[in-house]
């Protein structure tokens, strides 16, 4: 099992100056906190009309660390010939693709996203959806990208029986609304990063590991927007066995990735 962060980024953020945005910094943080591998997106793509050039830039940005950083390109299913971007991701060996329907002004479970879901599922490639990049209260006034809705996740999961979704930055209520709104078989194809789920004293994460099941969660940090330390502190505040901790740090991701 390799400790893997599924929610890391490189590149500048459109809405504020980041103090760190490079692959070098990301690697230093990973080394510091014991993360071996990261699935990496490219932050500027969030607002780019065409993700293809940004996807190429992502590969360049992380090229020095092929054993540690895996590029997760973006696919915009509202664009002409978006299938080419999906194929490029497959050919490049991407572990998943990202989509930001809230920033494309697309219905997150509308026809474009459903076609993408079907194509990715047919190719055995998971899709990563992000509930929110930043807390609603702190966003730039011009950042009007909508949060992902729990209903969209439920409907996408039901739209294709082979689709695997990884949803990042969800909180307790979001996870519960989706999980208990799906059949157990549907939920098996869904993975959550736990970075936005509260630890003590409310102990939402401990509760969800019991009610939803430990197998459904994996490590994501949100670097370089967010510090990696909190996700790991959440684990240190849980009373779980080392074997369960290993699942959360990468074991569950490997099992879920092998579903295809």
């Amino acid at each position: 099992m390799r400790v893997t962060d599924v929610a890391a980024f490189v590149g500048e953020y459109p809405y504020r100056e980041l103090t760190h945005s490079s692959a070098d910094w990301l690697i230093r943080q990973m080394d510091r906190v014991g993360i071996e591998r990261a699935w990496v997106g490219y932050l500027p793509t969030l607002l780019h009309r065409d993700p293809a050039p940004s996807n190429a830039r992502l590969h360049q940005e992380i090229a020095s660390y092929p054993a540690r950083l895996a590029a997760v390109p973006v696919v915009h299913p509202g664009l002409p010939r978006w299938e080419q971007d999906l194929n490029a991701a497959i050919e490049a060996g991407a572990p998943a693709v990202r989509a930001y329907p809230g920033y494309y002004a697309l219905d997150a479970c509308g026809p474009e996203m459903r076609v993408l879901a079907a194509a990715a599922a047919a190719a055995g490639l998971p899709i990563i959806l992000t509930v929110k990049i930043e807390d609603l209260r702190q966003r730039h006034p011009l950042d009007v990208g909508t949060d992902l809705a729990a209903s969209a996740v439920r409907n996408l999961m039901r739209s294709d029986s082979e689709l695997r979704l990884l949803v990042t930055h969800a909180d307790r209520s979001f996870v519960e609304e989706v999980h208990f709104g799906l059949t157990p078989r549907e939920s098996e194809r869904l993975l959550w990063d736990f970075s936005w789920i509260w630890g003590p004293p409310e102990n939402h994460l401990a509760l969800l590991l019991t009610t939803v099941g430990i197998e459904r969660f994996t490590l994501g940090t949100g670097m370089p927007l967010r510090i990696p330390d909190s996700a790991l502190a959440k684990l240190d505040l849980l009373d779980i066995a080392d074997s369960e901790r290993s699942k959360l740090l990468g074991g569950n991701l490997e099992s879920w990735s092998a579903l295809s």
Binding site: R137, Q138, L205, A233, L237
Partner: protein
């Protein structure tokens, strides 16, 4: 020593059947993190009988009573006296009484805008009794939000500038809103310290707070997410801060902000 300057507890009147579990969870997590002192408040009835941010005088008094009991049962707990400034006579008498009973600070949440002159007697009394005011802040509040009359850093700064002899703590830099706005404000207001609590864990929030204000203006705290607080402490420990700077954030600044002997 590690002092959490922004903690909360619950009571049997808080409208939550799990109130004892929550209190125990805070103390247990605190022990694991290494928290030496929890400086805490109870926000009235937490909405059960009057609104969280507009607590009635009865709920305020009952909450402060409960916190005094917790302080007696747990030597690692210190207390902020919660008041609603709209009931100013009650607030003033409550503050005087609770400080006499051992509380070491005043908690003002969002019952009245921070720059309202109604708060002046409270700020004056805090200065006279040498206790800080922890003030709830919505970072760069662009409009009113339901359920609270929240203040932002500029409004708190106006109060602080009128009372330079009083020490203020700007609550939860990670608690929501545009933290960069608050940092710009308090840079020029030396009697305001920043508490780092809240669920927000932005890398640049911590980096900029440290760069703009320096370690001497930062206080460590958790509010309602102790996991994020521990994460921020770990990040700061690895960020290149000197041991002396880390000691200021962990406890040294709190020793300066709170009354002498508060943490002995």
């Amino acid at each position: 020593m590690l002092i959490d300057v922004h903690a909360h507890f619950f009571t049997e009147f808080s409208g939550r059947s799990d109130w004892q579990t929550l209190n125990s969870a805070r103390l247990q997590a605190g022990a694991r993190i290494g928290i030496t002192v929890h400086v805490a408040s109870i926000l009235g009835s937490w909405g059960a009988r009057s609104p969280v941010y507009f607590p009635s005088p009865d709920d305020v008094a009952r909450a402060n009573d409960a916190l005094i009991e917790l302080m007696q049962d747990h030597p690692e707990i210190r207390g902020y006296c919660v008041v609603n400034p709209n009931f100013i006579e009650h607030a003033m008498s409550e503050i005087a009484r609770r400080i006499d009973q051992g509380m070491i600070g005043i908690k003002l949440a969002a019952s009245r805008r921070a720059d309202d002159f109604l708060l002046d007697p409270i700020a004056r009394l805090a200065g006279q009794r040498s206790v800080p005011i922890l003030h709830h802040v919505w970072h760069h509040r662009r409009r009113d939000w339901p359920g609270q009359e929240a203040s932002d850093a500029m409004e708190l700064a106006h109060l602080a500038e009128r009372h330079p002899e009083t020490r203020f703590i700007l609550a939860h830099l990670g608690g929501g809103g545009d933290w960069a706005h608050s940092l710009r404000v308090v840079r020029e207001t030396p009697n305001v310290w920043i508490d780092l609590s809240g669920s927000g864990i932005d890398v640049d929030m911590l980096d900029r707070a440290f760069d703009l204000l320096g370690a001497s203006r930062l206080l460590w705290g958790s509010d309602i997410t102790m996991d994020t607080a521990w994460g921020k402490l770990r990040y700061l420990e690895a960020s290149g801060a000197t041991p002396a700077e880390l000691d200021l954030i962990r406890c040294g600044n709190a020793r300066q902000v709170f009354p002498g002997g508060a943490f002995q």
